[in-house]
Amino acid sequence: MKKTLSLLATTSLISAGSAAVAVDLEVTHWWTSGGEAAAVAEFARLFNENTEHTWVDGAIAGAGGTARPIMIGRITGGDPMGATQFNHGRQAEELVEAGLMLDLTDLAEEEGWRDIVNPPSLLDSCTLDGRIYCVPINIHSWQWLWLSHQAYEEAGVDVPTNWDEFVAAAPALQEAGKIPLAMGGQPWQQNGAFGVMAIALAGIEAWEAVNVDQNAEVAAGPEFARVFEAAAEARALSARSNVQDWNQATNMLITGQAGGQIMGDWAQGEFQVAGLVAGEDYSCLPGLGVNEIISTGGDAFYFPKVSDPEVEAAQFELASLMLSQEAQVAFNLRKGSLPVRGDVDLEAANDCMKRGLEILASGNILPDANQTLSPDTQGQIEDMMTEFWSDQNYTAEEAQRLYAEIIARAD
C-alpha cells in the first residue's frame, strides 16, 4: 500500500514537473505491409521515448488510394488527426491552399531545414507561397528493376544486367515454367512501371517534356512510341501473373516463381523481412540498368490545424523528430527508402540502398510524376494504362494516341 502510494506520488510529481502536457497524438498513414509497418513502428518508438506524448497509430489498410479519401474527409469534415502521411507533391495542394494545414515555417527556419534536406526539391514540394507545410521524411524512387536470383538459377541463365538482357532471358524462364515479369493487377503499379520504362528508354529530356511541361507532341512522338512498344513487350512477359497487390508480386520473386519486377524501392522492405540478401539472393537495376537515375518521390507528413495549443506543440515536436538524424536512419533502414538528409550515416545500408545513395549524391535525380501531375491527370493515365496492360490486343499505337490526348488536357 505504502509502495503504491509513493509510486503514485512520484509519477504525479514527474508529470507535474514537466512543462508540456502529454498529448495522445493520432498519426494516420497507409503503411501496413510487413516492411512498412516495421518502419513506422520506429517513429512511434522514438516519439514515445523522446517526448512525453503518445503516438496513437492510425494505420489505414488498403494503399494510398483507399486511405487518402478517409484522411481528406476527416480534415475537411472538422475531425483532424494529429499528423498524416501524404505523398510529396500535389495530393494535399488544395488543403494547404484552404488553410487547413499547420504552417511549419518557423520551426523549419529555426532548425535550418533548407540546409539539411537533400535534394532541396523535396522541400519545394512542401512549400506554398514561401511557407512550409510538410515534413519530407524519405525518398522513394520508382526506378528499380528487381531480379530473383533463384528464378534465373533454376532456369539456367545468368542474371541480366539491363533491360535488353532481361527481355532476351525471358524465353528461358518461360521454358522453366516461370513468369518473366511479375506485375500486380492494380492500375498504379502498371502506370508506375510504364513511367520507369519511359525514363529508361525515352530518355530524361523526353520524359521531362511530357511530365513536367505537359508537351503532348513529345508524348505522341517517336521516343514514346518506342516506350509503348517496349511496354507491349513487357505486357506479354507479365501474362499469367495473377496477383493484385505489389507485395504479392514481390513474393513471386522471393519464392522464385518470377524473374523480375519493376517496382519502387519499397519492395526492398519485403526482401528484407523475408531474410534475403541484396546482391546474393536478389539484385536491383536502377533505371532498368539503362539510365541510372533516382526519381525523388516519397512520403511527407502534414499536420492539420487544430485549435488546442497543447496538441499543436506536440505536432511541432513530432515534425522536428521526424527529420532528426536518429529517426531518419531508424526509419529508412527498415523502409528500404533513402533518407532526406545527406549528413546521416547509413553504414547498415545494403548494396541496393548504397547504389541509390550514390546516384542521389551524384545528382542524377528527377521529380516523381506525383509531384508534377495532378491526381486527376494521373487517374486518367492509370485508367488508360490498366486497360492497355490487361488486354493483349490493345495496340501500342492506340495507347499512345490516348496518352497524348490526356497529356494535352492535363492541368
Binding site: G65, R68, P69, I72, G73, T76, Q91, E93, E94, L95, A98, G185, Q186, N242, Q244, S374, P375, D376, Q378, G379, Q380, D383, M384, T386, E387, F388, W389, S390, D391, L402
Partner: protein
C-alpha cells in the same frame, strides 16, 4: 335543422390543414430532414456538377464541360455498358430462378425448411464478404480451377475474374448466388397467399400444373412481382461493393461500374465537378426509368 339554429356559431367544416394536427407536427422533423438531405443535397450536387471544383467545392461555372468530358471518357462508357449487361441478365435470372425455386418449394416437398434456409443464407452475407468468398473460389490457383485440375482434368480452364471477356459472368455468379434467395422467399410468400380453392378449381377443370402457374397464379401475384422488381433494380443501380471486393474494376477496366467511377473521381482523383456530373447522370438514368413507372401506377390508382 332545429339543432343548427339553436347553436350560437355557424358550423363550418374543419380546416383540412389542421386535421390530424398532432401527427402532422410529429412528421415535420422527418419532412425537413427529407427535404434538406435528399432534395437539398441533390440540388447542390447538380449545381456543382456545372463547376470546375477539384478537391474542395467552389462556384466557378464552366457550363457543360464536365459532361462533355464524362461522355468522352472510355471508362465511363465501359461502366455504363457493364451495368446494362449486368442489370438485364441479373434481373432476368433472379426473377426466373427466384420464382422457379419458390414454385418448387411450394410443391409441398420434404425438408422444405432446410432448403429454404440454404437458399436464403447467402443473403445474410454482405456484398463485400460475398465478393471475397467468390474471389477465392474463382481464383485459378486456389479455387475451383485448381481443384478440378487436381482431380485429373489438367486442361480444365475456369478463371473468369482474370479474363476481360468473362469477368461479368464471374460477377453475375456471385451476385445471383447472393440475391436469388431473397427473391425466392418473397415469391414463396406470394405463392402461399394464393387461395387453396383456386388450386382445387383448376384441378377440377383439368388444367395442367405448369399452365396453372402461367395463366392463373402469376397474374394473381402481380404486386409481389412489382416488389421483387423494385428490390432487384435498386440493388443493380447501386452495384459497387461486389465489384470492389471481387475485381476492383479489373482486369483493366473491364468490370468498372458507374458508382465506382463516381467514388474514384470524387475522392481519389480529387475532381468533385467530374464526380458530381457522373452522379447526376446516374440520377437522370434512374429518373428516366422511374418516372414512367410512377406515372403508370398513379394513373391506375385514379382509374
Amino acid at each position: 335543422m332545429s339543432r343548427a339554429r339553436r347553436g350560437t356559431a355557424p358550423v363550418r367544416p374543419p380546416i383540412r390543414l389542421f386535421r390530424n394536427l398532432s401527427s402532422k407536427i410529429a412528421a415535420i422533423p422527418m419532412v425537413l430532414v427529407g427535404l434538406g438531405v435528399f432534395v437539398g443535397g441533390t440540388i447542390w450536387t447538380v449545381v456543382y456538377s456545372f463547376t470546375d471544383s477539384r478537391l474542395l467545392p467552389r462556384l466557378q461555372f464552366v457550363g457543360f464541360e464536365q459532361y462533355e468530358r464524362l461522355w468522352s471518357t472510355r471508362r465511363w462508357l465501359v461502366s455504363i455498358e457493364n451495368l446494362a449487361i449486368y442489370g438485364i441478365v441479373s434481373l432476368v435470372f433472379t426473377m426466373c430462378l427466384g420464382f422457379l425455386l419458390a414454385a418448387l418449394l411450394d410443391r409441398k416437398i420434404r425438408y422444405e425448411d432446410t432448403f429454404r434456409t440454404i437458399f436464403l443464407y447467402p443473403f445474410a452475407l454482405s456484398f463485400i464478404v460475398t465478393g471475397l468468398v467468390w474471389q477465392w473460389l474463382l481464383n485459378p490457383d486456389f479455387g475451383i480451377q485448381s481443384v478440378v485440375r487436381s482431380m485429373g482434368f489438367p486442361n480444365f480452364n475456369f478463371d473468369p475474374l482474370y479474363n476481360s471477356d468473362l469477368v461479368l459472368i464471374g460477377l453475375l455468379i456471385a451476385g445471383l448466388w447472393q440475391g436469388t434467395g431473397l427473391i425466392m422467399v418473397i415469391m414463396l410468400a406470394g405463392l402461399r397467399s394464393i387461395d387453396e380453392d383456386i388450386w382445387k378449381a383448376t384441378r377440377v377443370d383439368g388444367i395442367p400444373i405448369w399452365k396453372t402457374y402461367i395463366i392463373v397464379i402469376i397474374p394473381m401475384m402481380k404486386p409481389v412481382f412489382v416488389t421483387a422488381l423494385v428490390l432487384v433494380t435498386s440493388g443493380i443501380v447501386k452495384l459497387y461493393d461486389l465489384v470492389v471486393a471481387m475485381t476492383s474494376g479489373g482486369p483493366g477496366i473491364s468490370s468498372e461500374v458507374p458508382a465506382k467511377y463516381v467514388y474514384d473521381t470524387l475522392f481519389t482523383r480529387q475532381n468533385l465537378g467530374q464526380g458530381f456530373a457522373a452522379s447526376t447522370m446516374m440520377l437522370v438514368t434512374v429518373a428516366i426509368i422511374l418516372i414512367p413507372w410512377a406515372y403508370m401506377q398513379f394513373r391506375e390508382k385514379r382509374q
